[in-house]
């Protein structure tokens, strides 16, 4: 398999499609940037699909091409980790609508020869999952030993179990929800309005000028970043400490460390992310309501999933996707009769805990995946 160009790091494929989208549009062609790690076994039983979060990408365990930083989930994926290329064939694809090589608003619209910008169709979490299924077909992967993801990645995992139950043996949903709450939508709307209020946004047509709405995107990122952390975590890390000064400046410079930190988060984000992609992906998350697709009853979403094992994890300091959201999913799975494990882990890191050092998370995911492999 090693000489098969479909497999390895920094892969990309353009499939003819068309991909019928929930919004009614048909996308064609469909480009998907992805990476694979490890080797698919002869029986095709060891494939694990990893779904990334809002601003994540396919570089789950490889160096990011723009930032030069290690992959975003090297704590979970790698040699000796719960998801291990020595045991698993690992696939991670850039979601539809994103900007690291998969079709999105920055892609060229074949009808005009210019970037889609806001002419890119609005997409949903289910559209992202359908595109991933097309990729798996291209790779010759029929069955998934597991689909794993945190935050928006967890939404995709739930959508996988609901849409393709026969292809998913185990589902790991971390710090996620089956629908976006009013509060979730509200925070996203703040981010979108920040982007659209930037005069450089130009109704989305900023690609030709090479002058993107960096200020608006940075503010969007700053606002969102606060929601990923806990109040206690912020207090411990920054408190009211001043940034490289002994006294308040009586001005509007970044006096406090937390201000400086957030500004840095915002500025560094714009180097690696496209503002229009941020609009499209936050919209997809806001539209996500798995129960709504199934007559308003979440248990119905899992009616076909009786074979799929589920593992849900929440974190006690995550107020963006609080434990109650995971518990609602657990109750629906109980009602559907699906095998489910669930634990609320303790961590000071808020929503971001799923990306950070929480040894209990690795222990839970490892035990859950191994039990599935021994079936």
């Amino acid at each position: 398999m090693s000489d098969d160009s479909r497999f390895g790091l920094a892969r990309s494929v353009t499939l003819p499609g068309p991909l019928a989208l929930d919004g009614g549009a048909r996308l064609s062609p469909v480009s998907i940037a992805y990476e694979t790690y490890g080797t698919l076994d002869a029986a095709g039983t060891n494939a694990i699909l990893i779904c990334h979060a809002l601003t994540g990408d396919q570089h789950v365990a490889s160096t990011h091409p723009i930032t030069g930083k290690p992959g975003w989930w090297t704590r979970m994926v790698g040699s000796g980790k719960p998801i291990d290329p020595a045991r698993h064939f690992i696939i991670c694809a850039n979601v539809l609508g994103s900007c690291l090589g998969s079709s999105g608003p920055a892609s060229i619209d074949p009808a005009t020869g210019t970037p889609y910008a806001m002419r890119f169709p609005v997409i949903t979490i289910r559209d992202m999952v359908r595109a991933q299924a097309m990729l798996l077909d291209h790779l010759g992967v029929r069955m998934l030993a597991a689909v794993v993801g945190g935050s928006m990645g967890g939404m995709q995992v739930l959508q996988w179990a609901a849409t393709y139950p026969e292809r998913v043996l185990s589902a790991v949903v971390i710090a996620s929800a089956a629908r976006h709450s009013a509060q979730n939508i509200a925070f996203h709307e703040v981010g979108r309005q920040a982007i659209m209020a930037d005069p450089r946004w130009r109704n989305g047509d900023y690609y030709a000028e090479g002058d993107p709405p960096a200020s608006g995107l940075a503010v969007a990122r700053m606002a969102a970043h606060i929601t990923y952390l806990s109040e206690a975590g912020l207090t411990e890390k920054f408190g009211r400490r001043l940034q490289a000064r002994d006294a308040k400046s009586f001005g509007f410079d970044a006096d406090f460390q937390i201000e400086s930190y957030l500004r840095h988060q915002g500025i560094s984000f714009v180097d690696r992310f496209d503002a229009n992609s941020y609009l499209y992906i936050t919209r997809a998350m806001d539209y996500f309501d798995l129960a709504e697709e199934h007559g308003g009853l979440l248990a119905n979403a899992f009616a076909g999933s009786k074979r799929t094992r589920f593992c849900l994890v929440s974190f006690d300091t995550d107020w963006l996707y609080p434990t109650a959201e995971s518990r609602a999913i657990v109750h629906a799975l109980n009602a559907a009769g699906a095998p489910v494990s669930f634990v609320e882990l303790s961590s000071p890191f808020g929503h971001d805990a799923f990306l950070l050092d929480v040894p209990e998370l690795n222990r839970v995911v490892d035990g859950f995946l191994r039990a599935g492999e021994s079936r």
Partner: protein, 195 residues
């Protein structure tokens, strides 16, 4: 594998291999692990976070939840057996928990420490103190056992609710004993009930 707690050993020996089982208050899953090795489809609910992650870490289907609030979502007769070991006396509403158990399971195993055991009576009658025994090791102010009951209490309780006792086992420490004067002589009881 370490030896099972005596009441769990009784339950493990009387669950039919291959059965669907819900263990309510499953701890770190020691009973579930034994049942799984006998081909059972075992699921668990446990309130303690550390126990839940230990159980999931060993590959068991356990959810962090509360017997008082998290049983309502299971369908009727979803399991061949519902198990409530050493948990009835810790529930806020033991009567409602038992009703849920009878709804979810075709049969239920219920085990609990007997508050009419002679050592307990002695401690209370002669010592004038709340008992601290091997079966009830924690002082009154920190015990989770907020609804103490006796074997005779349980018998009356199920009779009033039209629940049938199919079988009962009585234990002192790990030793089985007969039903004679069990309410006085047994430290623990395990009941298999159905409706």
């Amino acid at each position: 594998m370490s030896e099972l707690r005596p009441d769990l050993a009784v339950i493990a020996d009387h669950v039919k291999p291959g059965a669907r089982v819900l263990d309510v208050g499953c701890g770190d899953g020691e009973l579930m692990a034994v049942l799984r090795s006998r081909g059972c489809d075992a699921r668990g609910i446990e309130i303690d976070r550390g126990n839940v992650s230990a159980a999931v870490g060993r590959g068991l289907s356990v959810i962090q939840g509360d017997a008082d609030t998290d049983l309502v979502n299971y369908p009727d007769k979803a399991f061949d057996y519902a198990i409530l070991s050493q948990t009835l006396q810790t529930a806020r509403a033991p009567d409602k928990v038992l009703e849920e158990l009878m709804r979810i399971g075709r049969r239920a195993f219920v085990s609990f420490p007997n508050f009419a055991y002679w050592r307990v009576r002695l401690s209370l009658a002669w010592g004038g103190r709340m008992p601290v025994t091997p079966a009830l090791p924690v002082s009154w102010y920190e015990t989770q056992n907020i609804h103490q009951l006796t074997i005779d209490d349980f018998r009356a309780f199920v009779r009033e609710r039209g629940i049938t006792v199919e079988q009962a086992w009585f234990l002192t420490g790990s030793r089985r004993r007969g039903a004679a004067a069990a309410n006085l002589r047994a430290e623990h009881a395990v009941f298999l009930v159905s409706r």
